[in-house]
């Protein structure tokens, strides 16, 4: 039989203690906001624009320098910023010295051959390992076609209009806010409860509590309620900072509540489970990190999942945090409620299993 009076008493003592611990408070509430500010600042500049080195060896002809015109046009594109390299430099050495893989070289006879209608090649340096090389060669190719058409007075027939599938255009910060909310829903309860479970066991505080009418179920419910409250506070702070500081486009709806409730229950229970089965606080910390860190990076916390290769996306799908982050994205960014519902169901099942396991395996007394 669960007593709400006892849960409230435990909740109160725990909350007051937590608020007195400045360190915990920092990691609970301030740290995720700092992360939003840092990542937001990093990616709020010209997101998606590639800097590329270019050397114009074109000697020109008839008072014209088509090579210059070409690079100027490239620089006005939405995807490339051209950085001119002096002709006195050896271009490949220069790229190496700058640790850059992308580069463009206009040959000496460019203007002459262009005007004479003779084949001439622009050299594009790139690397298969670099995600920017595709952008550079694609853009350069587009401008080559355009210049070819112009040479023979052709006209562009097919144009392109940019559009995205979302109601509003999404930016990186729009992914970052739900991602970091997921991050704090994972880390706060998980790290705290791994620590508490192992520490209380070592210091015999569970034994001490077992001598009172408080039951382990009531104790765990109290902790879960606390971390739901903490996650809600973190949620409000992070959304506020995302919107005010970076103008994030975020859709708020009641569909967020299941994630803000189930997430803390799941990770508080998981932390409890790890802390209970580990022999000492050190082992508990290690196991906690082994579980937490892959989840942190593989489930779309800092980058949208779609940026990752297929096999990593598959791995992400078996990690519980995936359903929190994915669900928050579905509600806050894509407004895709049917998909969010699937996330809620999966998350609910995982949560139930972990919670039951945690209550079963965590012991007040010893045999």
């Amino acid at each position: 039989m669960v007593s709400f009076k006892r849960i409230y008493a435990d909740f109160k003592v725990f909350s007051v203690g937590y608020l007195r611990n400045k360190f915990g408070l920092f990691f609970g509430l301030i740290f995720p906001v700092v992360l939003i500010l840092i990542f937001g600042a990093i990616f709020s500049g010209d997101a998606g624009v590639v800097n590329v080195y270019a050397q114009n060896q074109d000697e020109g002809a008839f008072g014209q320098n088509i090579g210059n015109n070409f690079l100027t046009a490239l620089n006005e594109s939405t995807t490339i910023r051209v950085v001119i390299v002096n002709t006195s430099e050896n271009f490949t050495d220069f790229l190496s010295s700058k640790s850059a893989s992308d580069g463009i070289v206009i040959p000496t006879s460019f203007t002459k051959d262009y005007l004479a209608g003779q084949q001439v090649n622009v050299t594009v340096y790139g690397s298969p390992a670099s995600s920017t090389s595709g952008i550079v060669s694609g853009t350069v190719n587009g401008y080559i076609n355009y210049f070819n058409l112009q040479r023979f007075n052709g006209t562009m027939v097919i144009g392109m209009t940019s559009a995205t599938v979302n109601t509003e255009q999404t930016t990186y910060i729009d992914f970052l806010v739900p991602g970091l909310i997921g991050f704090s829903i994972l880390t706060n309860p998980m790290f705290s409860l791994v620590n508490i479970a192992a520490d209380y066991k070592k210091n015999k505080l569970f034994k001490q509590l077992s001598l009172t009418p408080l039951t382990k179920m009531e104790w765990l419910i109290s902790k879960v309620l606390f971390y739901i409250a903490l996650s809600a506070a973190g949620f409000i702070l992070m959304v506020a900072v995302g919107v005010i500081a970076f103008g994030a486009h975020i859709a708020l709806s009641l569909w967020l509540i299941p994630f803000l409730v189930l997430g803390p229950i799941l990770f508080a229970s998981l932390g409890m489970l790890v802390g209970s089965v580990a022999k000492n606080p050190e082992t508990a910390g290690v196991i906690g990190n082994v579980i937490t860190f892959p989840m942190m990076f593989l489930t779309g916390t800092f980058f949208p999942l779609s940026m990752m290769p297929e096999y990593l996306q598959t791995i992400a799908r078996v990690l519980p945090l995936y359903y929190v982050t994915e669900g928050l994205n579905n509600v806050m960014v894509y407004n895709n409620i049917p998909n969010a519902l699937i996330d809620i169901v999966v998350l609910g099942i995982i949560t139930l299993v972990i919670f039951v396991l945690a209550v079963k395996l965590f012991k007040w007394r010893e045999d």
Partner: protein, 318 residues
């Protein structure tokens, strides 16, 4: 009904017999001291009584209930300070008492409890900032919240400075005056002697002596003896002229005579006077609890390790 009845209690951890068939009863209002060296089985015994550990076999009744099966009921009626008591670091004694009152669903007079354990000045300091003695007092305060008739104090003064120990003793004496039944484990003999009505000395999981300290000294000590400061000829003279058993220590220049009857003392002193020889200071001595304790726990009573060693030594000799 006795508040505590223990019959043939046994508990092993693997091959180690932590508690090896002990029996005792504790009367209402009694302070019962459980003495013994580290590893004697005191804490295992007290934790089984508190319902924190399951026993292997034997009977344990706490206030008429089985402490393991009816742990939840038993815990409402007893007060406990576990060994190395700790609490939530950022919680004050006052908050802790209020918390316990809510858990036990009782109206606790916080100020009275704090005064009772001499902690009222520190009521608003968080637990981690308290001294060792103040932490123990917080534990005592918490064990009193549910107004228990039966209290278990597991090494309540271990690691405390002498002043803090005396303060804890004062609190325990006050509880004793209120007719609370108290089980106290300690490895300080003076503490047991100062506070307990009866003590049990445990060693290697067994009770090697039980009773009031006087009874234990009488049963296991060497009894009263007379010591006379003097020289060898005096010792020989007394030996020759009485039927007393006379021992002489040359280094201490001391004659020791066990007193089997009170009249032995008169006989010894009269004879010494008759000898005409010089004799100095006289005193009667009795074994202290310390002497008895040391002699009891140093006997290799059923300690397997020692027996095995002795056997293997013999083998080498043959």
């Amino acid at each position: 009904m006795f508040p505590i009845e223990v019959k043939n209690l046994k508990k092993s951890y693997g091959s180690l017999k932590a508690v090896d068939g002990i029996s005792f009863t504790i009367k209402p209002g009694e302070v019962f001291g459980l003495l013994g060296p580290n590893g004697a089985g005191k804490t295992t015994t007290i934790e089984i009584m508190e319902g924190l550990r399951e026993r292997d076999s034997g009977e344990v009744k706490i206030l008429g209930l089985d402490p393991w099966k009816n742990g939840y009921e038993v815990h409402k009626k007893i007060g406990v300070i576990p060994q190395d008591f700790t609490f939530f670091e950022k919680t004050t004694p006052k908050e802790a008492i209020k918390y316990y009152a809510k858990l036990f669903n009782v109206k606790a007079d916080v100020d009275t409890i704090l005064k009772e354990v001499l902690l009222d000045e520190m009521e608003n300091h968080v637990f981690e900032s308290l001294s060792g003695g103040q932490k123990q007092k917080t534990g005592l305060a918490l064990s009193l919240v549910n107004s228990p008739e039966l209290l278990f104090l597991d090494e309540p003064t271990t690691g405390l400075d002498p002043n803090a120990r005396r303060a804890i003793w004062e609190v325990i004496r006050k509880l004793k005056a209120k007719r609370k039944t108290i089980v106290l484990t300690t490895h300080y003999l003076d503490e047991a002697q100062q506070l307990s009505d009866r003590v049990a000395i445990m060693d290697h999981g067994r009770i090697v002596a039980i009773g009031t300290t006087e009874e234990i000294i009488q049963q296991h000590g060497s009894g009263e003896r007379l010591e006379i400061q003097g020289e060898q000829p005096l010792a020989d003279y007394i030996r020759a002229n009485t039927e007393l058993q006379v021992e002489y220590s040359k280094t201490k220049e001391k004659i020791t005579i066990p007193l089997k009857k009170k009249i032995d003392m008169l006989t010894a002193l009269t004879t010494a006077e008759q000898s005409g020889m010089h004799w100095g200071e006289i005193q009667t001595r009795q074994d202290s609890l310390d002497d008895v304790f040391i002699s009891l726990i140093n006997k290799p009573l059923g300690e397997q390790g020692k027996e095995v060693k002795q056997k293997s030594n013999k083998k080498e000799l043959h």
